[in-house]
Symmetry: C2
Subunit: 334 residues, 2 copies
Amino acid sequence: MIKAYAAFKAGSELQPFEYDPGPLRASDVEIKIEHCGICHSDLSMLNNEWGMSTYPLVPGHEIVGSIAAIGENAKHLSLNQKVGLGWHSGYCMTCDTCTTGDHNLCASAEQTIVNRHGGFADKIRAHAASVIPLPNEIDAQSAGPLFCGGITVFNPLIQFNIKPTDNVAVIGIGGLGHIALQFLKAWGCHVTAFTSSPSKKNDALAFGANMVLDPNNTQELNAASGQFDFILSTVNVKLDWNALINTLRPKGRLHFVGATLAPLDLSVFPLILRQRSISGSPVGSPTNIKKMLDFAVRHKITPNIETFHFSKANAAIARLASGQAKYRIILSHD
Amino acid sequence: MIKAYAAFKAGSELQPFEYDPGPLRASDVEIKIEHCGICHSDLSMLNNEWGMSTYPLVPGHEIVGSIAAIGENAKHLSLNQKVGLGWHSGYCMTCDTCTTGDHNLCASAEQTIVNRHGGFADKIRAHAASVIPLPNEIDAQSAGPLFCGGITVFNPLIQFNIKPTDNVAVIGIGGLGHIALQFLKAWGCHVTAFTSSPSKKNDALAFGANMVLDPNNTQELNAASGQFDFILSTVNVKLDWNALINTLRPKGRLHFVGATLAPLDLSVFPLILRQRSISGSPVGSPTNIKKMLDFAVRHKITPNIETFHFSKANAAIARLASGQAKYRIILSHD
């Protein structure tokens, strides 16, 4: 039996919950969980904000642990090896996106906390292709958020060929944004942090921002007109997207990784006149997760964490919901 | 004096109008106009739909003629040479977009019918860099629309690296769309035409479409889910953009060259989950206009035209406004 923490209906507190994972599939491994980050997506799923939650719901998809059992076909991993698991716990491996290396866009990908049980538990099973070895040099306790928040902000730098000479900006300095600032600084870019929280300004500068702007300050946005090659939005609130698009250079891109629910209400003229793009992306492929881990090791990039024991999961969730966490919360078994 | 046809206020008919162009600037040439296409942008400017019209307004920015006078610095053109002129009649030549070959994105570019007089005239002046030699093999009478409508739909194929293996679609089979279908067929793509006019279906197939769909037919859109690498929208009406985005493959792009005035009201989730992009672009650079002309010659691509004498400009405009023109109207002096 796997010992977990589950919500039994939308919005309710987590309670201890056990389930039988059945026989280990040939393609899967079992991970003994040591740490698990909490992501905003866990909150959204707990509250069924996306209409796809099933209960009992075990959250948790920023998992670090060690291999406890190996299916007969999962030959590239070894017992006791340190690994991480993120939003995806399996891919079809045969569709065009999988066979071209874009497993993260696989329409049949298994999602760690959707219609299956996640990482607020002592163990978890997953398809071995989605389980990524953790480099020895990485601190295991703080590494979990790299497997969802981290790869979500790292992947666009690969996908859109961001250059060290680019002038870039990050909207929102939270769980994702504080990692994005570190990656972009190490990438060699000029980095602007957009935050409406004056209290986060010094942190943003410490994480690598060259300057800090308020996305709700019209005067600051006007002064930044036509400046950015790339803006990465990590927030899920509605902002004045047209004013932000106006801060893009010709051929600039406003890219969404934050799951903002309100429609984008974009004017088409500012896109046409300056050949600007709008886009979005989810997490990343196994290969890009490995690239990210290697980059994080070389540049000593780590999420800033607060830690709670797994038995205090409800308090940890309340802390995340308060918006006060700096900047990612980790649950640990010890 | 230059003899032209001008509207003296928004929405009024054209009347004969003369103006003195002054001394020829060193960087400019004078073109003796033979033919001029009529573009929807001429209508929008005549009616001041974009709030930037000044009167008297001489429309016309799909111009073909021959060089009648050459400024002392315009050494790459020669007297009597056949040339074309489109939406841009000059560039600053020194900004970052100009010096990297993206003259069409120059923020100070001169626009042929904005705050100056266009091609419904016997002559016109323009900065020599914006005046493009017409290949001998091209039919002069029907070539004008290539310099605005043509380059507007050709340029994105260059900018976004469209591949012959791509599955592409064109929304709107009008002045721009009927040229886009021809370019994309010659590009080697599988081409779908989106039109809500059943009467245009056979024409769309003749221009190169492999199939025709109705953008307002939910069933047809659902059946095309996840199919297209690239959709080019040439219309200025509001469609169900989210339903159209759903027909894009992972990493697909919905690209706007039609100046739709209504905001795009896009959901961000379909962009994030499949890494899709939305973008826009205006005309093209001088180099890409030359590439287009060469491509049009090699593939025998020509706009389908109806012709009017310049003295019938008001009738020609009424014909365009009726939506019945098939597919581009040309004014000619003879």
